[in-house]
Subunit: 412 residues, 4 copies
């Protein structure tokens, strides 16, 4: 057992931290300014492309991707192999400190990362050439269309979108919402979950299929909000209508009935990314809370000297330290025993992270007074984003039940 | 001791509930639609004026105001006297079920209510004629300018806005933010807190002064957000610059040094209104949570049959019942022993209400899945609004400390 | 709506508070001393009888009992009628401040109170003469035998003790535990819950029957502990074996199948007593917490000046004020609309009280340092006692589920 | 970074788990039985000596001790070197599953472990020969006398016990309480903290000195309780009077003024032991909770199928997994950068562990119904023991404040 990062990780952490200081943090106010001046209200501001170029130049590109396609391969002039989950995880944390800019700058933003993994792992050569390559190059963006407004989509059996074979193609009909990134006109490709066979056994009813944005019948209807945010800087969360959308049969991923399995496989690394980025968010919040309370005075002393505020700071530190270690261990398990062997831990971090980070953000907001709610600090928006994670990939409650079943099974 | 409402309260509750069913709830979707079509993005949609007329016609007007100006007086053809706090409180709860429409329809919306109380209690005849009358008639709206961006304004000694005597007038300079309602062009009058004598004893340094919106030097600069919401439907939360704003000396309320005392007097009834409306919000949330979980199925049964969801519903009910009784008792204390005698309870409900209602809303949101965060349900916006109450009139932590001091004093 | 106590209540509160000061608190150290010197380790120390005599002399006797048998009747030389629940509730709170001495001194201790109510309401004249009269006179004590070790007795259908008709008698066989008071040799009578007809509908299977302590076949086996306490000062919590215990048929309460109904009727007032006494416990704890933290210094100032401690004190006050109002309202509902109409509130206070008071005690203990855990302060023992209430009459979770069902039914 | 235990640790874990199954768990009921039959109510039952012999035979002895004196050295016929903190930590967890038997069986019980570390690190040859050797051999036991009843001893400046030089000796006068183990007649040696120079700078006022149990003037007065438990099976928690106790000058540890430093050094490994054992307690509790709820039925299904119970089980698993990783990381830091470098983590685990494990135990108790409180299950006693850890070595609140200061210092 050894809790030190390896040399490659340390080197990349140093390089990335430097990049945060030299490029990302200084770009934050520019980004805000450009957001207000966009022509298309759902496009990324131009500074994002500058950051992407700068990151790529430094080899800080596609770091999330393991194996032969991964960072360190051709695109990074490096060791010829991608990073392990354990190596990437601490880098994801650092990007979480500036969640609107750093992940996209490194081409490591959700949902593209998960989608690229799906294409890399399950795509045909043709699918990878058409969609994975431009994604890896940061030329297009992508969406993952799972959640439906009409049903509790945490239960995959509830999915109502149909994918029906018709001649040499499939016809897709259904309604999806909270499809992150899809309002962005650069989002060129949708991975859509639907049912090919409602009469099959529960976990073989679903399939996944690729749908190009410009396919007739696909309508990106409106942006769903998260609290009051439209998240337009990263493509929002769209409601999307699929009305008799016809795609070629070769757009199907793997085979009919494989959808649930692909969704499960997609979850593991994505969870680790989300969780580590969230820890980065929490670290930023702790820093802001400390700086703010040190700089303001009430009732005769800096707010940082109030016992209750110190209690928040200490609790925040104590909770985040625990959480980080478990996420890192989960990454290690993914690397060593795989998705299935890490099942309990992957669920555990999905349950623990949003509530822990939400708590830290709540206290940081409270320590800021009214400003904490405002557009002048990143805390309220961070809070809203983290709050969504208590639903993402199914509400925590579903995961807790499943985890409890596994625990109970030991004693049956 | 008697926990039944009196006859007049019951009569008004019935009348108001009927009005909610016949007018308010049906107007909610119209309101949303009109919001999207406004010319001035900070104006109230026209349906609001219709509702005001309908409410006034029914005597559901200015019910918040006690004493001779109160409901039941000339304007309501009634008993010649306003309602007590205890009589009004359960009505405020009912209006909280539709927080954007019902309070304003009844001319009982914050911050006007508190401002009208201040004018009724502390205003000169001239001040009342000029500002209180149109406010009571619902012709104009008003703002209360207290919080400042640069300091922890929970400590009144920190206020930096200056009110300086100069000849026959006062000159005001300072910066305020989160001035609720001030973005609305109908907001005609500001009650401004500032310092007339920074060298006086701590609670005699502050004064309050009336500033008409059109006074030169007053700039309504921008709308501050609350978790992404601009709250434009009720005038937002403005940042306001006072740059050498000159007003006649008779605009001062009471006298120099009276500001802190007026602020304290303003708090009591306002807290009760806020708290009861918040309880109404919680009741609406419980209803929505029940309806949603009864209507959706996951893993083979309605979500309402999940043990964890039932636990939320029960906890919500248990917490709200306790909270309501304490707020009602506080209203009774205000009526019988006054603001000062009710000090502990007024602080207690300020501390208890936001966190309790926030908890209920959080669970209701979680029970809704992603929709709970969206613009399609009122829950996320309600949550953001309630969250602000943990700061309003000073953060909870300041009130807890003060309450603890009073408790400890018993044993010294 | 009126939150003031009536004149009779105020008079009794004053008289009881005086009695606490003059008799109860001074007796606490004597009680502790005598406990260590008892011959029978399960008997009450002699000071208890002195206190009973003194209380009775002052008319502070059997105050819990409503109606014609109640305090104020012949035994108290008073108004000829017992107190209402609402009148008794604030007195129960005061007795809770010294939970080992005050309730028993006033002949208002559990489980006798509930048992006396059952006998008063459901007993025949003969049963009342034989058992109720000596109980009202404080000459004997009683037990209520419901909980069983082998099953989850929160579900009445699980009860395994059998009550079988056999000629002119009933034969009882079963095992009970946590039978409070039964270790005390003065505990002369057991009200036993068992099944007379396991094939009847679920809530008509159970019956209640009176069993005298000296009946052959009844064995009081051992004292169950609560954390490390044996609670020997008030008769402990016995495991009791009923091995072919034969009693006359007239010992049955009401009729076969009436057991569940009697148990339900017994719960209402008992809950109010328990909850109000628990609030008294919390008030004592707050007082102790304040006194202790004012008197001890660490890191240069009294512990009471630490922000975190003030937060505890304020939270404790805020929570207890809310809780008390709901319990009082529940008492009022019991008086005005009866047990059934107060169903939701009775469950709500059962759910809210133990967790709230437990929280207050935990903080009071923490504020005391190691002493808080010890026999030198009453806090740890109070905590253990309150902790049992999260199970008493069924675990909170069962009550929450039932309460949620009722809430959901409104929207079905 | 590597989350796998090394080979030696795995080997010892396997051996120890086997020993738990073959010896410790089977001894638990025997231990309980023998407890009831002891002559001296503060002695360990004889089965403990049997277990010690069996453990020692297997090389499961003194595993806690690092370096040359450690397990694996001469006394264990092993590798010649003690275990690292990281190697011992997972073994401590396993012993925590049977906290009354396993630690003492392996001669790894508190407070002896900390005392042996102090003697090994700071003792002279003579002190080690006289006291460390019989402690390492399990022939005597020891106590650590720090906490005082009269003051908040979390602030070392508050200590009132005096250690005064007088000729060739020191004279000790003071009162201590909660001196764990000291009621046991086998407890032969006390390490006593007192002040040699109240006028020195705060952290040089204190010294530590060795006092043999039989020294005149030392009176072990009474056993302090913890929630009703006297913990007599492991020597209780004594109040000890030092009345002009005279010891030779060479009994002083290191030098005058070294007391605070020794106390700090003693804390690190002890914390890790406590925390890992507590995690073992939690694991046992989770197991008991699962087994109990699987085996009992209420309302038509096993209690384990109730959603709320599953929520508890999942939360317990999620919290414990996080906590364990942080404690192991702390052990690794102790091994690699030492006590000082691990300061934040050592405080963090002290803060996190008791509250987390207490929560798990509370749920396990609740899942057991009344039995959970009783002497028939280990849960209530475990709970009481864990609850003391929120005070041990100073209340959590003091540690949180100190941790927050360190966090804030980063931004000053």
């Amino acid at each position: 057992m050894d809790f030190a990062f390896d040399a490659r990780t340390e080197e990349l952490r140093a390089k990335l931290s430097e990049f945060m200081d030299s490029h990302i943090y200084p770009a934050e106010p520019i980004f805000e300014e450009q957001l207000a001046q966009r022509e298309n209200p759902w496009s990324a501001p131009p500074v994002v492309e500058d950051l992407k170029a700068a990151a790529r130049e430094r080899g800080l590109w596609n770091l999330f991707l393991p194996g032969e396609h991964g960072a360190g391969a051709s695109n990074a002039g490096g060791h010829g192999l991608g990073l392990t989950n354990l190596q990437y995880a601490p880098l994801a944390e650092i990007t979480g400190r500036s969640p609107h800019l750093a992940p996209i700058a490194l081409n490591c933003a959700a949902p593209d990362t998960g989608n690229m993994e799906v294409l890399a792992q399950f795509g045909t050569d043709a699918q990878r050439k058409q969609w994975l390559e431009p994604l890896l190059d940061g030329e297009i963006r992508s969406a993952f269309a799972m959640t439906e407004p009409e049903v509790a989509s945490s239960d995959a059996r509830n999915i109502t979108t149909s994918i029906t074979r018709d001649g040499d193609g499939y016809v897709i009909t259904g309604r999806k919402w909270y499809i992150t990134g899809a309002m962005n006109p650069d989002c060129a490709i949708f991975i859509v979950m639907g049912k090919t066979d409602p009469s099959a056994e529960p976990h073989r009813q679903q399939s996944m299929i690729l749908v190009s944005r410009d396919t007739p019948g696909l309508t990106v209807k409106r942006g769903m909000k998260v609290f009051g945010y439209d998240d337009s800087s990263h493509g929002g969360h769209a409601e999307v209508i699929f009305d008799q959308v016809r795609v070629p049969a070769e757009n199907l991923l793997v085979e009919e009935g494989a959808g649930f399995g692909i969704a499960q496989a997609r979850l593991g690394p994505g969870r680790i990314h989300h969780c580590m980025r969230s820890i980065g968010v929490a670290e930023r919040a702790i820093e802001l809370m400390c700086r703010r309370t040190l700089s303001r005075t009430a009732f005769g002393k800096p707010i940082a000297e109030q016992g209750v505020v110190q209690d928040w700071i200490a609790e925040a530190r104590v909770r985040i330290e625990q959480l980080r270690m478990l996420v890192l261990k989960t990454a290690w398990l993914m690397d060593t025993v795989g998705n299935r062997g890490a099942h309990t831990e992957i669920q555990a971090i999905k349950i623990a992270t949003p509530s822990t980070v939400e708590w830290v953000l709540d206290k940081a907001i409270q320590a800021h007074g009214a400003g904490g709610l405002s557009q002048d600090f990143p805390l309220a928006e961070m809070w809203a984003q983290i709050r969504t994670l208590r639903f993402a990939d199914g509400p925590d409650e579903v995961h807790k039940r499943s985890l409890a079943h596994r625990e109970l099974r030991k004693y049956k």
